[in-house]
Amino acid sequence: MRRLTGWGPVLVVGLLVVATAFPFYWAIVSSLTPEARLFEAPSLFPSQLVFDHYRALFDQRDFWIPIRNSLIVAGNTTAFCVLVGSLCAYALARLQFRWKRPILAFILAVTMFPQISIVSPLYLLLRELRLINTYPGLVLPYLTFAMPLTVWLLVSFFRQLPAELEEAAMADGASRLRAFWEIILPLSLPGLATTAILTLVYCWNEFLFALSFTLGPERQTVPVAIALFRGQYQVPWGQILAAAVVATAPIALLVLLFQRKIVQGLTAGAVKG
């Protein structure tokens, strides 16, 4: 089954790569095309490339503000989740206690939580706390999906580490806490990094909460800012596509660099259920 038999699979994979890449290629080319020419008959190979839209994006639209907002919100959420979540995941993966299975099942259930179902109370709560349109007002709601995700991914990473290591450490007189701190944590750095990347990506991409709990451009995250781009007379496609490229590039880079780890993390979380 592993051998290449015929040209069928090659053709399918080739088509896949083209179909995957084309929208990106098209967005990049269009974001470099002068606005006036965008509405002429599209051609696959551009004759003239300009950086006008990128310049307008940062000079006129202050696109660095949503980028800053997204980085702050995603960074804080991820840091908190990995810090608190790694302890929880370690206990769930390695320690013996009652309620372990129900807690695991509960956390898995929360990862499937429909966000829309808690928009109303979160809105009322954040309004009461005067946190609408603030960074904490986004970080708090983000914990609802980021925390279970982090814990779930980390449990599967911790389970992969050989148990003999900490048993040996504890036989030498180290406490559980020290075994965790000195043996497990350093060994699971790749797992922690992968989890952090995935959590960052989820936070960077989140739309519904960011749309619901911000009011104006000063706290909008990247997806909200792009989705609400308006032009004076027509849709500013050039700038929208430039923004799309800017919002996608860091994610694409992270994914390409860490793809092996990410695939392992995802399929471990999903398939081993």
Partner: protein, 305 residues
């Protein structure tokens, strides 16, 4: 762990440590996810209109749910959600399976291909929606240009003012973004299949098609089920894609249930009614998830180690 049992009280010490480790994360989840969910249910039993604060928040029992059941826009939204879910998930599973089979064979440069297909999955849904909205734009869109070039149409088609046409970019965008993810899940399943089973099938004289039907498909069933349920749950909650591509339009003809709930809450500021819609979404998702856990649980106990 076995060593610990020699010490009296070691287990309770371990349990205490475990609780100390678990509680911060679990408490966060309970406080920020479970408590608001209970609040949604409570809210759904009231009339709470933020535009009319003088009306207060009278408790109305199940009046909001009665309104939901007779609300044509709600049933429309459920229908749109069902159309989207069935359409996109079916295409994604079929294409994902074809892709997974191809990826499992053609292994030269597979790492590169795997990385490439992950990118659409990882980018913001909002960006994916914008890319497809641009490609299906009536004037600037390449879709119309291609369709006119090959002679299917003689003038530009305005996709987004057509209640059936608007579904085409929505479903295509979702298929483009999520098929790779499905393919990766199925590929992981394929790689778990013992290759000696294919040898045995070949010796028994089974051709590639019968090998697929009698070896691959049955053994891939758990992975297919996981992909199916993950995608179903996801598709049922679709929001970003439709918000950006059509805004639910033309009219409300592509409005899914999550978008209707959002509009009831933050456009019309009807928090009681919107909460009732939110509860309905939760109940349906929960039912689907239960189905998943049950189906998967059965599969896992049946699967050989």
């Amino acid at each position: 762990m076995r060593g610990d049992k020699r010490f009296v009280g070691a287990e309770s010490r371990e349990a205490r440590l475990a609780w100390a480790f678990v509680l911060p994360a679990l408490g966060t989840i309970l406080l920020i996810a479970l408590f608001p969910l209970a609040w949604t249910v409570w809210e759904s039993l009231h009339v709470h209109d933020l535009r009319m604060p003088w009306r207060g928040q009278p408790f109305v029992w199940l009046a909001n749910y009665a309104e939901v059941l007779t609300d044509g826009r709600f049933w429309g939204a459920m229908l749109h959600t069902a159309i989207f879910t069935v359409g996109s998930v079916t295409l994604e599973l079929v294409l994902g399976l074809v892709l997974a089979l191809a990826l499992n064979r053609a292994y030269r440069g597979r790492g590169l291909v795997r990385a490439a297909v992950l990118v659409p999955w990882a980018i913001p849904t909002v960006v994916a929606a914008l890319l497809w909205r641009f490609m299906f734009d009536a004037q600037a869109g390449i879709a119309n240009a291609v369709l006119m070039d090959i002679g299917i149409m003689d003038r530009p088609f305005v996709w987004f003012i057509h209640s059936a046409g608007a579904w085409v970019p929505i479903i295509l965008a979702d298929v483009w973004k999520m098929t790779p993810f499905v393919a990766l899940l199925l590929l992981a399943g394929l790689q778990n299949i013992d290759t000696s089973l294919y040898e045995a099938a070949r010796i028994d004289g089974a051709g590639p098609w019968r090998q697929f039907l009698h070896v691959t498909l049955p053994l891939l069933k758990p992975a297919i089920l996981v992909a199916l349920i993950f995608r179903t749950l996801d598709a049922f909650r679709v929001f970003d894609l439709v918000f950006v591509l059509t805004g639910g339009g033309p009219g409300t003809s592509t409005e899914p249930i999550a978008l209707y709930t959002f509009n009831a809450l933050l456009q019309n500021l009807r928090f009681g009614y919107g909460s009732a819609l939110g509860v309905v979404v939760f109940v349906v998702t929960f039912a689907l998830a239960m189905l998943y856990i049950r189906a998967l649980g059965v599969e896992l106990t049946q699967a050989p180690e």
